[in-house]
Symmetry: D2
Subunit: 295 residues, 4 copies
């Protein structure tokens, strides 16, 4: 299980909407991705939580997948987020992503009714059987309503061939310990909780899936690089420096805060889709101050 | 606020799918509704959680709304469930329900990203402004991921004219106490947590929104009637009699357990849509035994 | 299991301390109990949570047990609260209570380290084996740190002869449902959560263990009597009338709020023992207003 | 605030009881401490959670404090645990510890009734005012029932002169981040959650308060030393090696598991005091296997 394409800073682009009519703004999407790649991120993950995947129609989703992959153009690996309430549409999207050239898919089993273990397993098995790409299991109960315990994750990894990576976003470091122990350190796991970045990397995470590079790319790269060279004091310093921004963007909801931050930095990606709203003026001032303090 | 069309047992129909191809089975939908009305329920609530509304395409949703209203044909009041991740589509569905003849809509603000109070308010305001039907606020954080506190609910009721009813499904009786106190007992509230039915009615709930009438209609009606006439001992007796079934259907997920129960009773409504699965054989035997014990 | 000495309103006296030196004020203790009995409560429960049992030395505890029993003087049944971190001292206190003339003991297995099921069982078995009084199992995880599930409680009831009653203070009505179902309605259970009083009695509770009679005895008695005669509308009315006081005294901590309320009513029982503090002036004004509104 | 006597591995001794009559076994207590010091721990913390402080009479507590300090005999710093339900007795114990020669006290505000912020503050202020030793604030809501938020802790640190250190045992690394940020990295904080040891030290903890050195002293020292020299890979390796033992001793309750482990290693410290029980035979076999795997 050990080797992996994905290592380091895996960045989430936002999905820009036009302020005029709320439609997808594909040129801004492409520019946003270009910005991330120019800034040096190690991989790109479109259509994740930050990408407002849950709020897109099928046609929009397909357009974003397609445009994102063309914009990256194989310069870095791409993992496309797949989460849909029905298995049928999750399968459809995974197939679409594969045809469009994704290197992997990241699957979050979103729910209305809670799923039992077998329902979760069959959902993954159906998607895995429909594509030949590697699959990153994504656990984020706070948004998805389903908690994939380390036991369930290990079952998926052991019983489904192309399930080969895990992204853990609970923010509970013990989950990572459990995955490490259960796989003898061989299962690549990724941190999806921004304020846990330092500790997750110390505990052996292969990478950090994050929207932060949209606003503070160098600090995220510096943290990963300090850990890689074993410079713990430097890692701690660079982590505490960026922590106020990491906490802010998480607390306010990533699409909301990242789009506000991009606007502060002069990049126009619009605002999130309703019922999500733009960040309030007061909060935008706070974010601007945090970004200024760091810069 | 006090008077209301909706009182008593408000029944959720299931949304049947064909086992052959998973398509909507409209004739079975109509028969299921007919069954509920024949059994004497006081109102019908299509496209709720039990109706797998979350798993339907827009075209399917529209078809179910239309067929359900035609099947009821004004014999009892109908409240149509509206829950969509985007405000735009929630508005579209509410308008559709109004045109199709609904008496009210029940709005659940489902989330991927958590909504703050203003986002929740604006979501309700947008829907309320688009229709002239009364709106039942629906709180069910376990499925929707959003908790509408009594404070938020009272703000909606006070500031939006056609928000006039509340359905509480947290199972926490203190929420009902808070609504009662904040409105001097004038805001009609409904219980959506099956195992709380006795206490909610004792505490003043106007009705009980439930899928149980699909399987045990008379017991649900008997409970409401015992409470209405102040026969507390009888109410307690009939409640404890049906409690094992109420707990079972809640624990296993309503679409899953109700469809299994309907099949046990000889009514074919298929199985839920994947990733949801049919109830296991062992659990189906348990449900059959529970229904037999009661009968 | 069904018949029981204890039925109706079981009142907790406070344990008064002198403001001068913090010592026990036995005359005030006796007067407080006299007040409760004059007001008509059905039973008295000294040395409970309200009685600050946890903050007393052994000598003080013994003095309160003794004085309370003498003050009641067999006019109503008395259940003495037993909760001590060590089994040895819990046994000692239970024996003391028996010798002093208690009718029953109420045992709360308080913890520093969490107890497993066998440790809980052996704690109860040791106490039960040392006395011949009936034992009321008391579940209150919010103060004790140990949650006695219905399964554990039923094991205690089935395997230990003199464990014959349960007081449930979680505030979760489903716990009472579980006890009712598991014992076919034969195990007497009591409500220890003030804001659940209406629903617990509707669900079949034999009584209500409460500190509220110190301040509003008639309303608590009226609720019990309305339920007993099946007057549900009246019960609901009298419950909502007293609910603001019930919520207030629970939220502020019972020794703190009850002692403040007694002072408002002209009965001097001092303030709680440090680290507990007297109710703040602002909160005392609120309590006074709530009591005035009701009176 | 930055400099501190306490750094590195701060070990909790157990409090041995004779199996014959349950009395304190002072010679075994002294030998246990001697063992820890010989093994190289950096400091000793008697009368903590592991030391069953909560289950001792006052006379026993005093004897353990006295004997522990004499056994250490100034070879390493000693921080004595203070936690008592009443402020008066907590003050008495703190004074006793100072007179007996402690270098600091660690104060856990244990509760029956929840304490509000002012009650917590006054409890600390009373103890701090009675002694001139430095005080380590100890947060462990799982055992104490009181959660000291970073906000409350920072208030204690800022407003009470001799409150100068914090021990955090919630296991939530974000609490440490908050303390670090609020004090610009100047407040010494210690980790009290065994399975968080790696990450807490990476995040800047000054030390690790732990019972693990009773069983695996070298591994705990190796982890601290690897972190100190910035050898992250080595730290991770030695942490994952000991993690199964750390998880086991936490899960089973420290007095129970540590006393069982000591017996496995041939050191007789008896069993915990009832209601706590000896570790079961099956669990003891598991612990023996874990210790063998590591050795």
């Amino acid at each position: 299980m050990a080797s992996t394409l994905f290592k380091g800073i895996i960045a989430y682009p936002v999905t820009p909407f036009s302020e005029r009519d709320g439609a997808l703004d594909i040129p801004a999407l492409e520019q946003g991705i270009e910005r991330l790649i120019k800034d040096g991120v190690h991989a790109v993950a479109p259509l994740g939580s930050t990408g407002e995947s849950a709020y897109l129609s099928d046609a929009e989703w397909d357009a974003v997948a397609d445009s994102s992959l063309r914009a990256v153009n194989k310069r870095v690996p791409v993992v496309v987020g797949i989460s849909d309430l029905t298995t049928a549409n999750a399968v459809r999207r995974a197939r679409f992503a594969e045809r469009a050239g994704a290197d992997a898919v990241m699957v979050l089993p979103i729910s209305y009714w809670k799923l039992n273990e077998q329902e979760i397993f069959d959902h993954y098995a159906a998607i895995a059987g429909a594509i030949s790409l590697p699959i990153m299991v994504y656990n984020n109960p706070a948004t998805s309503g389903i908690d994939l315990t380390p036991q369930i994750i290990m079952r998926l990894v052991r019983e489904i061939d192309n399930v080969t990576m895990v992204k853990e976003s609970t923010g509970d470091i013990q989950r990572m310990h459990a995955l490490y122990r259960a796989s003898n350190g061989e299962l690549p796991f990724y941190n999806g909780s921004n304020p846990l970045a330092l500790e997750a990397l110390c505990a052996g995470a292969s990478g950090w899936c994050t929207a932060a590079p949209n606003l503070i790319p160098q600090l995220t790269l510096d943290l990963f690089s300090a850990i890689t060279k074993g410079a713990l004091d430097e890692a701690r310093k660079v982590f505490y420096k960026q922590l106020p921004v990491l906490e802010f963007i998480l607390k306010g909801g990533l699409p909301t805060t990242i789009k506000a931050g991009l606007r502060i930095q002069g990049f126009e990606a619009g605002i999130p889709r309703a019922p999500l709203k733009a960040l309030s003026e007061a909060e935008t001032q706070r974010l601007a101050a945090l970004l200024r303090d760091i810069g």
